[in-house]
Amino acid sequence: MLSRLKEWFTTGNITVRIMTVVLIAYCVLVGLVNPTFFSLEIFLDFVRNGAGQAVVAMGVLVVMISGGIDVSFLAIAISSSYISTVLCTTHGWAKPKTFLSLLVVMGISCLVGVLLGCVNGLVIYFFKLPTFITTLATQSIFHGALATFVGTKPVTASRMPRSVIEFGSGAIFEFTSETGSWYGLSYFAIPVVFAVGLTWFILYGTVFGRRIFALGSNALAAKRCGVNIFAAQMFVFAYAGFLAGVMGIIYAADLRWVNPITMVGDELIVIAAVLIGGAKLSGGSGSVLGTLLGMAMIVILRSTLVLLGISSSWNDFFIGAVILVSVAVSAWRSRQESKAALRFDYV
């Protein structure tokens, strides 16, 4: 066991290795300062808090590997969850508190997400537009269109499908703590495992996944090798939209409230997590494990500064610092690697 661990540590992806060490070191530090940190309850809370962002981070990862970026996923998530919950409540499709009705809500949400993702993909493919600007624009278009054409009235807990509420409040298994309150592993862990597993399979287990990497590394070479650029590009944006649909329902279940007007959450945090995890904006690199660790780092950092006795005013500062340090380290490393070559790629 120990030797296998050692083997993984000497041969594995360097970003993942560094991050594992840093994450463990940070957790030990927090635990030393504040022993309450080492509890199952806090760990399970991390899973619940980070679930939505972890799911959508997988979609963003796939887009980034293909050489693009998607900043519209938050607008997609809100649009899809709002349309889905409104449809289900007005038509009474998701009345019973069953797994099937949750699947209906989730399915509609994902369908809307895929459609909006396809809009991104189509515009970007056919007009060869820069992905950042396009998704920036579609973000405001999706969000504005939702409020204009669908509605602005929030869906409250009393009107929301019971299955969604149950999804947010229930747990796969539960414990009762010493103080009498209960805690457990939230149902949110299921979509996370699903998203991570599916992304892992697509990226590392299929030829199509290899093609996405190829597209991101060198689009022209990929095209000459017979990669269907259209299919790959459509797929990555549709997939990001699909996972954004899942995230929308997770947020709805978590907050018990879908407000089409305000954008809850922070899309830059998700992009930061993917970047910390070793993805490059130029495409062609990135890993599922790294992204998960990046997400874990941000979620843990955000909720443990208080345990260290640092005011929450410092949150943003530390998150930014982590982004910079991690990127600086990888920039320094790639510079070491190509020191011999003269490079002028400033931009």
Partner: protein, 333 residues
């Protein structure tokens, strides 16, 4: 046939001029429509109001133009704006006890310095450590916002010096004639200086050269790193200036000021015809882009169109502008 050729040349020339003026034409058309559709659009008071509203975004967009011309991007403008604003506010406030109240002019200088330092850090890391601008400024977006919250403890800084507020609320009155609000004057002045720097100085040529092809710029003897460093520092300075104006206009140093302002600034630059890959784009286009966004926002308000339509509109205009760029470059190929 020579006649045909010359007429074709004429028509090509005409089309080229039309293309150059596309934003101005769009702006004029919108203004004509708005002045017919609403009673208040074409009044001096309203036009001055529009200008005052766009001056903050205008300052950010000038810096953003420099950066996008070099092929970079700055996502941290909103956060640097907030930091520059609260630093200045803290020195002119009677309520903020951690630092002494000083002469408003010195306070403004300190705020501008704070913003410039943040921008310079961006530039230094991007040019020396070769971190991608997107990521560096994404990090700075968090860091500068965090510093703003730490500095203010998350509370707005109020009770500001009365003379300081003049710079945001007062008017420029040469010889007793009430001419323009101070923010507009400062914005136009900054624009004029930026124009001179970009088109009448070596530095400006270098900015275009670096964005066009960093490698050949380097080989031609341009200090590429220095140019990159400078554009980010300039952006930091202009953001802090915008922060000072916003603070004076709202009478408070708000730590949450300027959230997602980077989107409007990028939109203005892109609408203005500056290419995201760098090296191409007119500064005057940015001015028109800034005014276009301001006019649309204010016009749709007056037509009492919901603000959600405005969002859709802005998004469509951005996509439209980038698409036009695509068709144009397609024609060149």
């Amino acid at each position: 046939m020579p006649d045909d050729a010359s007429s074709m040349q004429e028509s090509n020339k005409f089309r080229a001029i039309l293309w150059e003026l596309r934003i101005a034409i769009a702006l004029v058309l919108i203004c004509v429509y708005l002045s017919m559709a609403t009673d208040h659009f074409l009044t001096t008071r309203n036009l001055i109001n529009v200008l005052r509203q766009v001056s903050v975004n205008g300052l950010l967009s000038i810096g953003m133009t420099f950066i996008i011309l070099t092929g970079g991007i700055d996502l941290s403008v909103g956060s640097m704006l907030a930091f520059g604003g609260v630093v200045t506010a803290s020195f002119v406030s009677n309520a903020y006890k951690d630092v002494p109240s000083i002469n408003p002019f010195h306070a403004i200088c300190l705020g501008l310095l704070a913003g410039t330092v943040l921008g310079a850090v961006n530039g230094l890391v991007i040019s020396k450590m070769r971190v991608t601008p997107f990521i560096m400024t994404l990090g700075m977006l968090s860091i500068a916002r965090g510093m703003t919250y730490i500095y203010t403890n998350g509370m707005p800084i109020t009770d500001l010096d009365k003379t300081f507020l003049q710079i945001g609320q007062g008017f420029f009155e040469p010889w007793g004639v009430r001419l323009l609000p101070w923010p507009v004057v400062i914005f136009l002045l900054a624009f004029a200086i930026a124009w001179v720097v970009l088109y009448r100085m070596k530095f400006g040529r270098y900015v275009y050269a670096v964005g066009g092809n960093a490698r050949s710029a380097r080989i031609s003897g341009i200090n590429v790193g220095f140019i990159i460093f400078m554009v980010y520092a300039i952006s930091g300075f202009l953001c802090a200036l915008a922060g000072v104006l916003l603070t004076a206009r709202t009478s408070a140093g708000l730590p949450q000021a300027g959230v997602s302002y980077e989107l409007d600034a990028i939109a203005a630059v892109v609408i203005g015809g500056t290419s995201m890959t760098g090296g191409k784009g007119p500064l005057i286009g940015t001015l028109l882009g800034v005014i276009l966004i301001g006019v649309i926002n204010s016009g749709l308000d007056q037509l009492s169109v919901s603000s959600y339509y405005q969002q859709v509109c802005k998004g469509l205009i951005i996509v439209g502008a980038v698409m036009l760029d695509y068709f144009q470059s397609d024609g060149e190929r």
